[in-house]
């Protein structure tokens, strides 16, 4: 054979090798393995799912990861005890095949699946669960999820009943307590116990850890990481789910995350067919992709409004000395009529149209209309009215100069600035629209786009700002994760952080209602309490709610079982069920 041909074969193997050789063929189900049968359409094995990511994951440690890209990758390699089904938004069995709740609602007994193996082939049992919770609850580890596991001021207690039964005890009854188990990755004790006891847990499983030292119970395991380029996951051959024909999931051989840099690059790569799916699209890019009608190798999904809420808020914090100018302006901000006037003057429909190209809904409360279980439908949606805003300002003692400038009681011109994150085009745009709306009331408003970290620093640390456009929410449909936003002592109680006791009467009421709903186990009673919270918030406007954008995703047409959901991760939550209908040419050549 001539040499050139050999060279060609060699070059081909060299370039294609990361995608060609996969040793991780699915293991045939063994007797004694308690597998979960998933009711998806039966698929075919093979293929690599390529996903474009804006930034690289910072770590692969599921306990300490806080950034979205890390969590997106780690989530594919890990599994939890009880899981929130992203499509139905209800809890379902995961590593725990069943659970019982004691009558007082405080003790949870979980039965674990038997015969499961970690992705490195080592068996899984209750000791792994105990170890996992020991790590999550360890203050020295600084897990962002730790707060969720503290109920009634005490960490939840974990007890091993037998090798496949675990009991969790809470200090007080806790509504929807099963939901706290979602996304808490169960760790392999055999790999991590030693570094944990040596106090090196924070350093384990960083991005440069060798794939052999990382394992989990999720559908995929780490195969390779090329800094600045990609992270490739391969099938976990021991994954504990099968389809109706007893084929072990997942169907895909590999999932490759390409690091493309930014949102626009994500869109360009998807448009070119380099990547197979795209989530968190903004409306402009969605329109752009929708317009390209000649090349429809992909389909697009508009899932309706997300659970995120964007809002304008004023700085009502107790200021540190040196911020007298802001303190002066807080006299306006703390006047409810001033906030009501601003809320009345803001053109929310304009925001929906200009910022989101109509792919959003206007908001008047903290719960998105797509959260049907919890939204208070009776909340009023007052139409925009500049006249009403002017009346409110007049009744609060404001007046207007001859040139139209608004003056406060002391004759000082009303002027303030709104900070936003410069990397979030949508929020900057909202601020610009608000600025224009408020100029009609004679307010002189400046928009100051800042780097995202600078915004966080001002909002959380220095309190050196007057107003801000921000967004929150989006995690779960249940009210409990929102506790830290609405409790006056909460860490995300942004308009007034670190209140020792409620600063106003209505904040005290919210505190009581939120605490009550947390220990109330019956949905209808919880709903009534949370409705009251929503009404108090809407009446007192600590945040002036603006809009919630639609969740927009796209995927290749031949990607089957693709069922994007409103909850994060909206596109990859059922990655084990995804498969390609036919072997695409592009897929083979990669």
């Amino acid at each position: 054979m001539d040499i050139r041909r050999w060279v060609r074969v060699f070059v081909f193997l060299l370039t294609a090798s990361p995608f060609l050789f996969t040793s991780s063929l699915p293991q045939t189900p063994q007797r004694g393995e308690e597998l979960q049968t998933s009711d998806n359409e039966v698929g075919r094995y093979g293929g690599t799912l390529v996903v474009g990511q804006r930034t690289e994951p910072k770590t692969l440690n599921p306990v300490t990861a806080a950034d979205a890209p890390s969590r997106e990758v780690i989530g594919r390699m890990m599994a939890d005890l009880i899981h929130i089904n992203r499509a139905s938004q209800q809890v379902e069995a995961s590593l725990a095949k069943s659970w019982t709740v004691s009558r007082d609602g405080r003790a949870f007994t979980l039965k674990l699946r038997r015969g499961l193996r970690f992705s490195d082939g080592q068996p899984f049992d209750a000791d792994d669960v105990l170890f996992t919770f020991q790590v999550y609850l360890d203050e020295k580890v600084h897990s962002p999820q730790r707060d969720l596991l503290i109920v009634g001021g005490k960490p939840l207690e974990v007890q091993k009943v037998d090798s496949y039964t675990v009991r969790f005890t809470l200090a007080q009854p806790y509504a929807a307590a099963e939901r706290i188990f979602d996304s808490l990755a169960i760790l392999p004790r055999h790999l991590l116990e030693k570094p944990y006891h040596e106090g090196k847990f924070a350093q384990v499983w960083n991005v440069s850890t060798s794939p052999a030292e990382i394992c989990g119970l999720g559908p995929f395991r780490l195969k390779e990481y090329v800094a600045g380029q990609r992270m490739v996951l391969e099938r976990n051959p021991y994954f504990w789910k099968v389809d109706q024909k007893k084929n072990r999931l997942p169907y895909l051989d590999q999932v490759a995350f390409l690091f493309v840099g930014n949102e626009d690059a994500q869109v360009i790569r998807f448009q070119a067919g380099d990547t197979d799916l795209i989530s968190r699209l903004n409306s402009e890019n969605y329109n752009l992709l929708a317009k390209e009608r000649q090349n429809q190798s992909y389909k697009l999904f508009d899932l309706g409004p997300s659970l995120e809420y964007n809002f304008l808020m004023f700085n009502l914090n107790d200021l540190k000395p040196g911020l007298d100018q802001i303190a002066e302006k807080q006299k306006w901000f703390s006047d409810l009529r001033f906030r009501q006037a601003i809320s009345a003057a803001i053109d929310r429909e304009g925001i929906v149209k200009l910022v989101y190209g109509t792919l959003a809904v206007a908001l008047w409360g903290n719960v998105s209309p797509s959260n049907r279980l919890w939204v208070d439908q009776t909340l009023p949606h007052p139409a925009r009215s500049v006249e009403r805003a002017r009346e409110l300002l007049k009744s609060a003692g404001f007046s207007w100069r001859n040139d139209g400038q608004l003056l406060d009681v002391k004759g000082k011109a009303v002027e303030f600035s709104i900070i936003t994150s410069s990397s979030n085009n949508q929020r900057s745009k909202m601020a610009t629209i608000i600025q224009d709306d408020l100029s009609k009331l004679g307010m002189d408003v400046h928009v100051v786009p800042l780097e995202f970290r600078a915004v966080l620093d001002r909002v959380f640390q220095t309190y050196d700002y007057e107003a801000a456009v921000m967004g929150l929410g989006g995690g779960d449909a249940d009210p409990n994760p929102e506790m830290n936003v609405w409790l006056s002592s909460g860490g995300t109680h942004l308009w007034h952080l670190g209140e020792a006791k409620p600063a106003t009467e209505w904040e005290g009421q919210i505190d009581q209602l939120m605490k009550k709903q947390m220990v109330e186990l019956k949905y209808s009673r919880r709903k009534r309490l949370y409705d009251q919270v929503q009404q108090i918030i809407a009446a007192n406007l600590p945040y002036i709610f603006l809009a919630t954008p639609d969740i927009l995703v796209g995927a290749k047409k031949n990607l089957a079982n693709f069922k994007p959901a409103i909850l994060e991760p909206s596109a990859l939550w059922n990655v084990e069920q995804l498969f390609f209908r036919q072997e695409t040419v592009a897929g083979a050549s990669r």
Partner: protein, 341 residues
């Protein structure tokens, strides 16, 4: 002999700059006026023939209406023609009151004439280019003025006095020349407070851009002053007892005017681009104040870049202005060389 190119360039620059100075009159709308139903409207098409095939002496436009079931797509509504009138009186909503202003041209409400299309807030891009030119060109002119003044002062002093003044000034100039100015501008801007009024931002920009560029003109002027001060007539005038100030004013500085003019024509577009760069990177004036850099910053979004070609209009203005000034600089340079030859 003045070249045709030079005349065209000068006329163009005069026209454009007077349009920018009188933007309140030439621009049909206020730069910040939003039309929330009309984001990304394409530029107005000016017609002479209507839908029925009739000729009109007065040009007219059709109104753009959004296409149903689509986002940011428009078609012309042929129902009614809107003739373009000149010297129209329009009342504009101010903060609270209304102000009346005469505009060069306009159409009857409810139609609007967007000569260069509209932006993402439905603001008239043509008006924004004119008002934005005030910032961008104004910054360029002022900053060039500062640079030349500094350059003339330091260059003349160091060339005329020589030795102990000359050395430090020229070493300082070299230091300024090797500075990577863009990064320096970024660093300087980042140090400044963010909560400052638009006027303050503008003058800060001008001051920063202007002071950074003094070195090149200073070196050129120093060279000319050096060669001029050793000419025979200068020595003669010294011999008659003329003071340094008199010699400098009367015999030396006139030699530098040509260089100053060329430098001005070169520096102005350069500084306009500097302002545009800073605003483009978000370090200039903030919304809703327009500047060419702000306007171009829209193109940082991929979807805008590929979908709405009229958003490139400010770039065209920038290119034409730069070409105009460079043509002028070239012509002056040629005249200087032919005069000295």
């Amino acid at each position: 002999m003045i070249s045709k190119k030079l005349i065209i360039a000068i006329i163009f620059l005069l026209l454009l700059q007077s349009a920018i100075v009188f933007a309140g009159f030439v621009a049909p709308y206020d730069a910040a006026l939003q039309n929330r139903d009309l984001p990304f409207v394409p530029p107005a098409r000016i017609h002479f023939v209507d839908a029925r095939g009739h000729w009109h002496l007065r040009p007219f436009i059709y109104q753009w209406v959004p296409l149903p079931q689509s986002i940011y797509e428009y078609q012309e509504s042929r129902e009614r023609e809107y003739p373009i009138y000149f010297f129209v009186r329009a009342s504009e909503p101010m903060n609270a009151g209304v102000r009346t202003q005469i505009h060069l041209f306009g159409v009857e409400a409810p139609a609007q004439i967007f000569l260069a299309g509209s932006d993402s807030y439905g603001r008239d891009q043509f008006s924004r280019i004119l008002f934005g030119g005030r910032i961008s060109l104004g910054a360029g002119l002022l900053a060039a003025g500062i640079s030349l003044l500094l350059g003339l002062l330091l260059g003349a002093v160091s060339g005329f006095h020589g030795k102990w003044v000359d050395e430090p000034v020229m070493r300082l100039a070299e230091l300024f020349l090797v500075l990577p100015w863009l990064y320096l501008l970024l660093a300087v801007r980042a140090f400044l407070p963010l909560h400052i009024s638009p006027a303050q931002t503008f003058f800060l920009l001008v001051a920063v851009i202007g002071t950074i560029g003094w070195a090149r003109p200073a070196r050129l002027i120093r060279g000319i002053v050096l060669s001029a001060k050793s000419r025979n007539y200068v020595l003669a005038s010294r011999g008659f007892g003329a003071s340094s100030g008199y010699v400098l004013r009367r015999h030396v500085l006139p030699h530098t005017y040509g260089v100053l003019l060329t430098q001005a024509a070169l520096l102005i577009p350069q500084y306009v681009i500097a302002e545009v760069t800073l605003s483009f990177l978000g370090l200039g004036l903030s919304e809703p104040m327009p500047s060419w850099g702000n306007l171009l910053a829209n193109l940082q979004q991929y979807s805008v870049l590929v979908s709405y070609w009229w958003m490139f209009a400010p770039a065209l203005a920038l290119i034409l202005v730069s070409l105009g000034y460079f043509t002028v600089a070239n012509a002056i340079q040629e005249r200087l060389q032919s005069a000295s030859a």
